[in-house]
Symmetry: C2
Subunit: 100 residues, 2 copies
DNA sequence: TCTGTTTTGAATGATTTTGTCAAAAATACA
DNA sequence: TGTATTTTTGACAAAATCATTCAAAACAGA
């Protein structure tokens, strides 16, 4: 279970690229990319999409990774984290069903 | 699948209480409570706890309802909402496992 | 040590959240 | 209807959170 940050750091190190290079492609300061890789900052959607393009990864997969990171962050330190995620899942399913 | 807002509105109407009364107990403006009940605003943890006490409900259950609402809100309009929730669940489980 | 890379944290800006207030809209009911 | 009560709305302000920049510190390797 890898976070988006861990994933892209691996990719970047595989290619032996400095933060600078990827950050330039994303048009952000390398400090931000460093923080994103280490999970200290959240990327935004545009950055995730660019990262997928840069590293030739499936965009949807990376967006799922990113979104799920945000969800995990939202329930950090919560006793009922797991339960809440499960209930949220049911709620989303229910809403989807209602739309048909 | 009921949101926290729907739940407490029902309770309040059952008891035929005006927003004013419950809002006073929570120490907030009734406008906010109105918005919380209709899902336009998020309650905070303290308010959820007070609501549970006020309506004699199980605090944990209400917190789960509240947290899951927040999660649903976070993935609204996302194509990959369900997938992201499932992945988040696995991530949380994985983290929990690692701690043992 | 020198060079390039990464991390850190303070400062600043931008955005979001939270709440208040008062007026408008809706509701209840004599 | 008319009046009182409740609810909703939206403008506004304060507070909190979040993103970004920058420069310095820490780190890695030759």
């Amino acid at each position: 279970m890898e976070s988006l940050g861990e994933t892209i750091r691996k990719r970047r190190e595989d290619k032996e690229l400095p933060l600078r290079t990827v950050a330039a492609y994303l048009d952000i300061d390398q400090a931000i990319l460093s923080k994103i890789e280490r999970g200290q900052r959240n990327a935004n959607r545009e950055q995730v999409i660019k990262l997928a393009r840069f590293f030739n990864m499936n965009e949807t997969d990376l967006l799922v990774s990113w979104l799920s990171d945000k969800l995990v962050y939202e329930v950090r330190n919560e006793d009922v984290a797991l339960k809440a995620l499960q209930v949220a899942e049911e709620k989303v399913k229910y809403q989807k069903m209602k739309k048909l």
